[in-house]
């Protein structure tokens, strides 16, 4: 008896250890959320407004070390709450039915452990959410990041089901130790039963593709994304999809933003062949990268059409510390964020919301899905 108790005790204790860094299966369940107090969640009729927005974990234009020329890591809680309130307010103003979010923190030291998915559900007219972590670790022993849980989320007025986290390939241009502590990017996909049209199910699909890989990881990410959408398409169902693709549109004027993004003390373009490039600022790391989105444009309907996608009024991103001159911030200088559907967007419904450039280093893009349109 004593022996059994001892063995049980040891097993219980051994069972208490969660992984230090969470790794994911190729496919796993997304984490489900609900607003504490729901607004009307019945779909009546009319278009469905879809928004994609990389909200940069609510730090707005804070000079964060990881994605700008800043060297700060942790913003104070009051400012994060202010930023998140502004994001919630704008989502409310847009009156979106479905929101595809990237870079959302749910339990991270850098954002005071605020559960931003829950916060947005509780402070907007959105009722349901699902979340897929892309970076989950008890402690990142670098740059004071500490505990982190950040990822993608789909928020919706209507109930979500069958929410799935689809793992994307890891970068192959990192050593084992860096890769262990690094991001595990994903696609999150969910069904929205309220929007079923006849026999056709309705899906929302959200992606945040790699930004900083210098190998062809981005190609693997887009390939997996295209494969995921093709599965829905071949089942005869509808989808609305989007996210931060970290890719510029085909035919963009420039594929090299190193000069625009360079930080003091950095060295770029020093070799005869123009290398090295700044990670995340160069879009020709592998053959075919400038045209990486062509299959999406060829197959599906884009919210911002091919005639407009390279116009400045549809740029969605600039690093938060980018400056045109000593006093003027670069608000946006490239397009990285997209919306697509295999259905139809309502005419003239698409918009890049450049007025809210101060709320993140990415801008929201919205469009209205035409329910019943063929």
């Amino acid at each position: 008896m004593k022996k059994s108790i001892s063995i049980l005790g040891v097993l219980l204790i051994l069972g208490c250890n969660d992984p230090f860094v969470t790794v994911f299966e190729d496919s796993s369940d997304a984490v489900m959320y609900e607003a504490n107090s729901k607004s009307d969640s019945t779909y009546d009729s009319g278009g469905v407004k879809v928004v994609t927005w990389n909200i940069r974990f609510g730090i707005a234009r804070f000079p964060f070390f990881g994605d700008s020329c800043g060297d700060d890591v942790i913003l104070d809680d009051a400012t994060i709450e202010e930023n998140m309130a502004a994001i919630a307010d704008y989502l409310h103003v847009m009156d979106a039915d479905i929101v595809l979010l990237q870079e959302v923190d749910v339990s991270s030291k850098r954002t005071g452990y605020m559960d931003q998915v829950q916060y947005l559900l509780d402070n907007t007219n959105l009722n349901y959410g699902c979340y897929a972590s892309m970076w989950k670790a008890d402690f990142i022993p670098s740059d004071g990041i500490g505990r982190i849980d950040a990822g993608n989320a789909i928020l919706s007025k209507y109930e979500l089901s069958d929410a799935e986290r689809i793992q994307l390939d890891l970068r192959t241009d990192q050593d084992g130790l860096t890769q262990y502590f690094y991001l595990r990017r994903n696609i999150v996909k969910a069904k929205i039963p309220a929007l079923v049209q006849g026999a056709k199910d309705f899906y929302a699909v959200d992606i945040h593709a790699t930004a900083f890989a210098t190998d062809d990881t981005k190609q693997q990410h887009i390939d997996k994304y295209v494969e995921t959408l093709a599965e829905i398409q071949s089942s005869g169902d509808y989808f609305v999809t989007g996210g931060d693709f970290n890719s510029i549109p085909p035919g963009a004027d420039s594929t090299d933003f190193c000069d625009e993004d360079i930080c003091s003390g950095e060295s770029i373009h020093t070799d005869a062949d123009g290398e090295p490039h700044k990670e995340g600022s160069y879009f020709e790391n592998f053959s075919g990268e400038p045209d990486i989105l062509v299959p999406l444009y060829d197959t599906y309907n884009s919210a911002i059409d091919t005639a407009s996608y390279n116009l400045p009024e549809h740029f969605t991103h600039a690093p938060s510390t980018g400056m045109i001159d000593d006093t003027t911030a670069t608000m946006y200088d490239r397009k990285l964020d997209y919306l697509f559907t295999n259905g139809i967007w309502e005419n003239a419904s698409s918009k890049t919301h450049q007025a809210v450039w101060e709320l993140s280093d990415h801008l929201p893009v919205s469009a209205v899905f035409n329910v019943g349109g063929e």
Partner: protein, 276 residues
């Protein structure tokens, strides 16, 4: 007050009971004996009533010093008081940096900080089992602006440094030691660190302070000890920590190897000698 100080000094001079290999008890080291381990401090029996200890490897980046003084027996227990002092600032500023091993964000400059701790220890042999009870008060002084976002939110560390943010804390514990054979000993210990609810007024000014309220850590250790000789021993076992952190409750079995995602047993070597 004078009477109290006089009594305290007299009580301190009482020769305590000495014992080898018993760092956490009220027993002091025999005079002129030293003991140290890979992960344990260097301890020295200065006299029959005073023992001091320092973490020699940590000393140059985190000056620390501890003094154990024997006291009069209390309720049949051998008693001692222990006083600790630590100055963690140089080490914390070393790890407040960019890049790998940047444990604290480089945004923060840690101010001069002083940690003081006083404990009362009581030990007794009961039916072949050595029992030690301890309890005490921890004080943390920060001589400058200590940003609440600079906490290190991991087991063992968070609550020890939490005292600087909370300004004070209390600790209590229980150690049970039993000789299994002539060469083997088992040690079971349980420690509770508590950062009591304080600073309500501060929370009005700084909402971050609310995260530090009422947080506890329960630590438990089970060790099997092989006493090779009076001068060398090997310890193995585990440490279990559960507590409340700024992000919620958590528990972990230690030591834990992150990349292998597995627990491994503690392996500790300890040496001792007697100074001639």
């Amino acid at each position: 007050m004078k009477k109290f100080i006089f009594y305290f000094i007299i009580a301190s001079l009482v020769f305590g009971e000495t014992k080898k290999w018993d760092a956490h008890s009220a027993y002091l080291l025999p005079q002129k004996r030293w003991e140290m381990g890979l992960f344990q401090p260097f301890r020295y029996g200065y006299s029959e009533s005073i023992e001091y200890s320092v973490h020699p490897l940590w000393f140059f980046v985190m000056p620390n010093f501890s003094l154990k003084i024997s006291q009069s027996d209390f309720a049949g227990f051998t008693s001692a008081s222990q006083y600790k002092m630590v100055y963690p600032t140089p080490f914390l500023n070393m790890i407040a940096k960019e890049g790998i091993m940047g444990i604290i964000a480089p945004d923060f400059q840690m101010p001069p900080m002083l940690g003081l701790s006083a404990s009362w220890l009581m030990s007794k042999n009961m039916a072949g089992v050595n029992l030690t009870l301890n309890g005490g008060l921890d004080l943390g002084f920060a001589f400058g602006d200590l940003d609440t976002r600079s906490t290190i939110d991991i087991p063992l560390v968070y609550h020890r440094l939490g005292v600087y943010y909370n300004k004070w804390g209390i600790h209590t514990g229980l150690d049970v030691q039993k000789n299994l054979t002539q060469k083997f000993t088992a040690l079971f210990d349980l420690d509770l660190i508590f950062l009591p609810m304080t600073g309500l007024a501060e929370v009005q000014i700084d909402p971050d302070a609310s995260k530090l309220m009422g947080e506890y850590s329960l630590e438990h250790k089970l060790l099997l000890i092989w006493n090779k000789s009076e001068n060398f021993r090997v310890l193995t076992g585990y440490k279990f920590v559960m507590g409340e952190y700024p992000y919620g409750s958590d528990m972990r079995l230690l030591p834990y190897i992150p990349m292998a995602e597995t627990w491994v047993p503690i392996i500790e070597f300890q040496w001792a000698r007697k100074k001639r």
